[in-house]
Amino acid sequence: TTHSWDFLGLNYPSSHTPASELLKATNYGENIIIGMVDTGVWPESRSFSDQGYGPVPSRWNGKCEVGPDWGSNNCSRKVIGARFYSAGVPEEYFKGDSLSPRDHNGHGTHTASIAAGSPVEPAAASFHGIAAGLARGGAPRARLAVYKSCWSDGTCFESTVLAAVDDAIHDGVDVLSLSLVMSENSFAALHAVKKGIVVVHTAGNNGPAMMTIENTSPWVITVAATSIDRSFPTVITLGNSQQIVGQSLYYQVKNSSAYKSDFTNLICTSSCTPENLKGNDVKGMILLCNDKGASFFTAAQYIVDNGGSGLISSLRIVDDLFNIAEACQGIACVLVDIDDADKICQYYEDSSNPLAKIEPARTVTGNEILAPKVPTFSSRGPSVTYPAILKPDIAAPGVNILAAKKDSYAIISGTSQAAPHVAGIVALLKVLHPDWSPAALKSAIITTAHVTDERGMPILAQASSQKIADPFDYGGGNINPCGAAHPGLIYDIDPSDYNKFFKCPIGTKKEPGTCNTTTTLPAYYLNLPSISVPDLRQPITVYRTVTNVGEVNSVYHAAVQSPMGVKMEVFPPVLMFDAANKVQTYQVKLSPMWKLHGDYTFGSLTWHNDQKAVRIPVVARIT
């Protein structure tokens, strides 16, 4: 958060940059209440300072539950409520934890500070000097309500999560952020949405294979991860003076034997399995595992246990440091690409006394770094449960994010980090548009997202190789908070509509045949800001209704980008709005151009005028 919010255009005021208009217009999200269902929070973190905050909003109806390491004074004008859910949780999950809202795991503190952390000055916010900057949440003056439903090792229980959501509805939260994977068809989230609460969920970390996405109910916002324009270059100098640049979170510990300013012995091996490493003396040495990261954690543990000095690991893609800091415990762990690993190993083969030296990582930001990119780990669509609902909805920063962890700061990657970025932005939008429904706010976010970087180049996604990202990677695209504040048109949904599209009432697992199916419609008729047709066999027509929330007298023209193999026709091609006509319905006819059993192809429909472009992704599979 020392850079992710700048990357999204939400600059905090400083001596050299003014505050973003959105932050100013929303008074930094003040008085919006964000509920975090997670592992609790560390209230003493500077990210949760309540200095300068006004009274707790009078509509707040929550509690500050106490425990052995949490008193009523641990709630504040920032952390306004805190509950924990231990009933029914097996004893073993309390090991290393406490029966209180306190976060002994660190996950909940990290996510809460991403969504709504108070600003913390650069001198205090870094990982041993790496990624230093002004840390803050997306809605830095929003209030936090903490619902500890997940325990020491990050395990959560459906019974505790449901209790948290039920209480959050009662307490009066505006936004719920859940950085965990839970049941599809979540009735609790639907009830929250019916009460006007926006529910933000992670997409999961099981990418890059298709159909790995989770939390795909149409009423929630499902968030994929993207990278930001920041990297941590780390110079490796070989004994022949050749220099290779990798990525690491390696920092110099004063007076530590782990950091050697001198060269040390280098070993290169193609496999770092426990069997291969067993008995090898690595004391004081740098080990290179040229195995595409297959045994990274094994090797790191071996180096730590046996007094090694460093570990170099080859990877296809080195942008995501996949939480290496914890595994490496201060030793120099560096990721290099396969070509560079081969160069180092060639030097190792050729030299009679191979040596190497690793320098601490630097922090580099700016437009020389290709970003955003969808990382390998981010789960991909389509949804197995709801193939006619496009998921994910949106992508947000979730790679190498520095945020609070207990009393310090840690760099962590995951869709867990992406979801609270969206929750923070929703909090700001709620200030601007207090009467908008969760569906309208989701629409604003999806239709204004970026699908290109600042140069106009398509956003990329990482898998076994890089490719141009598609809606199964990032939904509408990378989140654009300032655009979402003024979307022009919105696609709204009455929550009662969600039940019309399912064979059985939400929450039931009864056999479909036992439910009334007369009102069942394909889910692609739901008025979502996307169209997904997984079984296009003959021409179909879907309808969408848009509400003008921009200039009263507006004219929008359709720009159609048809999915490959699909003829897409929009009628009418022009939408005219005035004071009497704020809502317009249009139709989209999708026709397969060939008879074949095809794969998914992607397109879009954009309604645009001089000021606005309101884009929805379109996905179809000819069958």
């Binding site: 029914g88 795991n105 959560c156 209790a163 039920d166 609790a188 009830h191 867990s416």
Partner: protein, 86 residues
């Protein structure tokens, strides 16, 4: 009733009663009918969901869960799942 017990979640849909206490009482009545004992009902209840939606989490055997699913007003009864942070 035999068999090992685990946490099941009974989902009853929208909150239909006026006060949360009434919702809780209706859950206990249902569980008491199932277990045929007020004491067993109190001992089995783990959570009452009473604000945003109606339901409860209770320690039940698989057989008890199957019977509970047939009660009027019960939409589903499913074992409580385990999740992980992401």
């Amino acid at each position: 009733g035999g068999g090992s017990r685990k946490i099941y979640i009974a989902y009853l849909g929208d909150v239909k009663h006026g006060h949360p206490d009434e919702v809780v009482a209706s859950h206990h009545d249902m569980l008491t009918t199932l277990l045929q004992s007020k004491e067993d009902s109190s001992a089995s209840m783990v959570y009452n969901y009473k604000h945003g939606f109606s339901g409860f989490a209770a320690m039940l055997t698989a057989d008890q869960a199957t019977r509970l699913a047939e009660f009027p007003g019960v939409i589903s009864v499913e074992p409580s799942k385990t999740y992980k942070t992401t």
